[in-house]
């Protein structure tokens, strides 16, 4: 792991992804190529010296040199996300350190097994970095993203994901609306369950895909169990749990 000292980056763009999710792109004076799946720590300092820190997954691929995109969900009563949403504008500076994390990462090696990505809500962020990395590398091992959201307005990166699926037949986008699906929706519209996971695993035939699962604790727990029940070896399942509490 490279050195993780604090540095002052400059916000160069802020893009609303959904009503409660924004992507902050930050240019860094001391940028280190990251691995898809890694995160940065972000630290806010008040006048009196009080500091608050949170970790945010990197959404951008390592090919996007010199900067990082952090996709942030506005958390109820969130001390850090609340300030980022209300108090930060393009041109402002933010203190960050990273990249951090060496486990929930995808290196994009040419001979790597197919990819099964399962995300819940903002858990899609590190998975997006993997998909963007795969796209930039021009890799074509099969990849499936099973993305669970409650309602149509919560689909982070929707346009980019749909364009990616259109352009790349080896990538399959499976949206799952757990509360309210768009009109005429023929796809999944229930909580991720064992039957759904078994169907998705069957898409890979006899090959064991490398699974990355990221989302709220309860979802990750049940998906990891469901994937094992569907025949995936435990060592092929990597998990990252998070949510409003940092879980």
């Amino acid at each position: 792991m490279s050195k993780v000292t604090w540095q002052l980056g400059t916000v160069i763009s802020i893009v609303p992804e959904t009503p409660r999710v924004k992507t902050f792109t930050i240019r860094l004076p001391d940028w280190t190529p990251h691995l898809a799946g890694q995160h940065y720590d972000l630290r806010l300092t008040a006048e009196g010296g009080y500091q608050a820190e949170r970790s945010y997954s990197i959404a951008s691929p390592p090919e996007q040199a010199g900067e990082i995109a952090l996709t942030v969900e506005l958390v109820e009563e969130g001390e850090v996300s609340g300030y980022l949403f209300e108090g930060v504008a393009v041109g402002n500076e933010l203190e960050v350190r990273g990249p951090i994390g060496g486990y929930f990462v995808w290196r994009g090696e040419p001979g790597a097994p197919p990819l099964l990505l399962v995300g819940g809500g903002s858990g899609v962020v590190p998975l997006m970095a993997m998909l963007r990395h795969r796209q930039r590398l021009g890799l074509r091992m099969p990849a499936v993203l099973l993305f669970s959201i409650r309602t149509p307005e919560e689909v982070i990166y929707q346009a980019e994901l749909e364009a990616m699926a259109q352009a790349d037949p080896s990538f399959t986008l499976l949206l799952d609306y757990t509360r309210q699906a768009p009109p005429g929706w023929a796809g999944y519209q229930r909580r991720l369950d064992a039957a759904m996971l078994a169907e998705v695993v069957q898409r890979f035939g006899a090959t064991q895909p490398q699974a990355f699962v990221c989302g709220p604790t309860g979802m990750v727990e049940s998906v990891a169990n469901g994937l094992q029940a569907a025949g995936l070896a435990p060592e092929m399942i990597l998990t990252e749990r998070f949510g409003p509490t940092g879980s």
Binding site: Q7, A46, A52, L94, I100, A224, I237, L238, T245, G246
Partner: protein, 213 residues
């Protein structure tokens, strides 16, 4: 980075002296694990002390539950920034376990090893003197699998990744051998009060305050 402040940023919560730097309080009990929760059958479960010991020892689940237990009341600090105050546990103190073995003099460090393959390292001294225990109950209930049940080592004065879930035993070593997260760049020691999250925080932790100026 000396005097950088984020304009207009104000704490939303009153400061709490129980909170180490960079942490915030949660009332949930978040779960962090690198992979699926292992399924552990109590009939095969065992807990071992091995490595630099005169004679290794192991307990079955039934034998382990007959060891003298104590109640522990503690705060949890996770490296992912959350802290949880005033949790109640019941388990077997590591001091109690050590009464069953004789350590070799070279034993200075410990690797906790686990069902599922997880490991974490720490100095032997950090497990002694009532500072660590094998927790079997949390808030009056058997410890849930996602929180490390049936048994989790608990070392509350360090970041919580040093408290291994699904613990299977302790291996005594002469050297400080990096465990699972430590090999990935996390701190070898993990003192939340010194904010030793990553390996780079280990070196100059004591002088960090003065460097900042």
């Amino acid at each position: 980075m000396g005097f950088f402040t984020n304009k207009g940023f104000q704490p939303k919560r009153p400061s709490n002296p129980k909170l180490p730097p960079g942490q915030y309080e949660t009332t949930d009990f978040p779960v962090l694990t690198a992979g699926p929760t292992p399924r552990i059958n109590l009939t095969n479960w065992e807990f071992r002390l091995e490595g630099l010991v005169e004679e290794p020892v192991k307990w079955s689940w039934e034998e382990f539950n007959k060891l003298p237990m104590q109640d522990f009341n503690l705060d949890i600090h996770c490296v992912t920034k959350w802290s949880k105050f005033d949790t109640h546990w019941r388990g077997v103190s590591v001091d109690t376990l050590l009464e069953h073995i004789k350590l070799k003099p070279e034993a200075q460090f410990v690797t906790q090893f686990c069902y599922g393959g997880y490991t974490t390292n720490l100095p032997l001294a950090d497990l002694l003197g009532g500072k660590a225990f094998v927790g079997l109950q949390f808030e009056g209930q058997p410890l849930a699998p996602e929180h490390g049940g049936p048994a989790r080592l608990v070392v509350p004065h360090l970041y919580f990744w040093k408290s291994a879930k699904w613990v299977q035993g302790l291996r005594y070593t002469a050297d400080d051998e990096p465990g699972f997260w430590e090999r990935g760049g996390y701190s070898m020691y993990g003192d939340p009060w010194k904010e030793q999250r990553y390996r780079d925080d280990d070196d100059d932790a004591a002088s960090a305050g003065s460097i900042r100026l």
